[in-house]
């Protein structure tokens, strides 16, 4: 029993954290009195203080403001990618599972090949084509992560096809679209939502990692702000003398990914009681 209680406590903390980050990202311009790009020569690399809670960076910009704006990049990339992947993958998996036979076999072979290749590798290659801005990144990441949804959706459809009510709906002459939309889809939604919660942190992780090694988003004039990964890289260079510059963005990335993963675990346990 205590396990379940602990779990729900953790889940509430994670949910709270995710909501707080989302609010901070949306309200960034109103939350902070500073501008994300406002340079000030007098306050270069100052440690955290009363005026600047997270200190300032190498160009005298307020770090807290930059981290708040960075949340916009991370959340947009995370949620956007997950939604693109969900739509692509679920439709693909539905078709494969519903058609069955040779079509299914062929379609899943393609998924297997994609699944076996390293995400980051395909992702880097795709980002060369689609450009290093948020839109290009979303497309590239979405094209990489759809395979997970395709696998889950297909497996679920194969199961759901056998349910009696699906057979019944078919027997009374319901159209194929209606069977999929009204009878199969609602029944496979649970595992897909769990996969969605896991996709968001992996996308955030991929984006921040790429930005950290300098091949992620490269768009200094973006109204979205600078990625946490780029902030962390700036801080990494100055880590020896000014550790606060890397500490805050790195912590933000870590806590956000942790919160989403914890949420995913909690959801999975709720939707799939066999696992507990």
């Amino acid at each position: 029993m205590t396990g379940v209680k602990q779990h729900s406590l953790l889940m509430h903390w994670s949910l709270g954290f995710v909501v707080a980050i989302a609010l901070a990202a949306t309200l960034a311009p109103w939350l902070s009195p500073y501008s994300a790009s406002g340079l000030e020569a007098k306050r270069i690399l100052t440690p955290p203080s009363h005026e600047h809670w997270m200190g300032t960076d190498g160009l005298g910009r307020d770090l807290l403001t930059r981290v708040l704006y960075g949340a916009r990049v991370s959340l947009t990339v995370g949620v956007g990618t997950a939604i693109i992947a969900l739509v692509l993958g679920t439709v693909y998996g539905l078709i494969a599972g519903f058609k069955g036979g040779g079509t299914d076999n062929f379609m899943m072979r393609i998924v297997d090949i994609f699944y076996g290749l390293p995400d980051m590798l395909i992702f880097i290659l795709l980002s060369l084509v689609f450009g290093r801005n948020i839109a290009g990144l979303l497309v590239a990441l979405g094209l990489v992560s759809w395979v997970r949804f395709a696998r889950i959706a297909r497996g679920q459809v194969l199961q759901a096809k056998e349910y009696l009510f699906v057979e019944g709906a078919r027997a009374i002459g319901a159209s194929r679209g209606r069977v999929i939309w009204r009878h199969i889809l609602p029944n496979i939604l649970g595992p897909i939502i769990v996969t969605l919660t896991y996709s968001i942190p992996s996308a955030i992780l991929a984006e921040s990692t790429l930005s950290f090694i300098g091949i992620g988003i490269n768009d200094p004039y973006s109204p979205w702000g600078t990625s946490w990964g780029t902030l962390a890289q700036d801080g990494y260079r100055a880590m020896r003398t000014y550790p606060h510059v890397i500490f805050f963005p790195a912590t933000a990335i870590f806590l956000t990914i942790l919160a989403f993963n914890t949420l995913g675990n909690a959801l999975r346990d709720r939707l799939d009681p066999r696992r507990t």
Binding site: G116, M120, I213, A250, F254
Partner: protein, 305 residues
């Protein structure tokens, strides 16, 4: 057995061909070329360069030429490292990356096997909770964050090791931990949950009822069966180690293939990008083949089929 091997090798060759073709097409689609400079090159110079690398030929000719070259093991010239070909760059850097990846994998197994076993055996105890807490942190920690933390604590504050060197035997420790931590966490959690299922199986009860020693019941009977799911994730895990090395080699300034790949991407050194991608694919195909063979070792039923 031979037929199985042959089939898998054939399958691997097809994967390799698909990857080669897709990479070739993707890089030709990419906007901007490797010879774009701040100051535009004179058109005659550009034409000469393109003629040298056969970029002036039709796409199909380029593709066939490229395929026949890699079939003969020639990965072509690098646009950036003019004195060495892509093959030479890879030959110089692959051993470093392979060493790091292998050590990270061993580290992950060395940590995950005992901690997963202990956590499952003492289910619900403080050992279990501590292991799983650390594992959940490890899964969520990006390589570059862990790397930075390790450098900050071990190298900068405690001065135990020096970061950014690759000439001492202990230089490998921090990168190895950084690269292996996430797989270790993942494997430990996986092993724990499969062991918990296995402990409930009839054959474990039978083994106990026969009066076998507890250590033999756990290690030889339960653990062996639970290794199958661990083997299953080894393929994706190898992929994760390969790409994780991009970041780790960058953070610790290690002269490995991953770091050269990153620079190749920034420089748009297309032949080097394609070469490294192909080497990664070959490594993955081999790893998966090895894993399939290991299945037979762990589970005799699979060998029979």
């Amino acid at each position: 057995m031979l037929r199985f091997l042959f089939k898998r090798l054939f399958h691997g060759a097809i994967v390799l061909w698909i990857v080669a073709t897709l990479t070739f097409l993707l890089l030709r689609l990419a906007p901007g070329g490797p010879f774009d400079r701040e100051r535009k090159l004179p058109p005659e110079v550009l034409a000469n360069i393109e003629a040298k690398y056969h970029l002036d030929k039709p796409l199909l000719t380029q593709y066939l030429r490229y395929l026949s070259a890699i079939a003969q093991g020639d990965l072509g010239p690098s646009y950036k490292y003019l004195d060495r070909g892509v093959g030479a760059v890879i030959a110089d850097t692959l051993p470093t990356s392979a060493l790091l990846g292998l050590l990270a994998l061993l580290f992950a197994l060395a940590v995950a096997l005992p901690s997963g076993l202990l956590a499952a055996y003492f289910r619900g105890s403080w050992i279990d909770r501590a292991c799983m807490f650390v594992a959940s942190l490890g899964i969520s920690m990006p390589h570059f964050v862990l790397g930075a933390v390790l450098i900050w604590v071990i190298a900068l504050q405690l001065n135990w090791l020096q970061a950014g060197r690759w000439d001492l035997w202990e230089s490998v420790l921090l990168p190895m931990i950084t690269l292996g931590a996430a797989p270790a966490a993942y494997l430990a959690a996986l092993l724990r949950s499969t062991l918990l299922e296995t402990f409930g199986e009839d054959f474990v009860r039978t083994a106990r009822a026969k009066g076998l020693k507890e250590s033999i019941v756990v290690l030889r009977h339960a653990l062996r069966l639970s290794l199958i799911p661990v083997l299953t994730v080894m393929g994706p895990l190898t992929a994760a180690l390969l790409t994780g090395s991009f970041v780790v080699e960058y953070v610790f300034a290690i002269p490995g293939m991953g770091r050269f790949f990153i620079t190749a991407v920034t420089d748009r050194d297309y032949p080097l990008i394609m070469g490294v991608t192909l080497v990664y694919t070959v490594l993955l195909v081999c790893a998966n083949l090895l894993i399939d063979l290991l299945y037979g070792v762990v589970d005799p039923r699979i060998r029979a089929n």
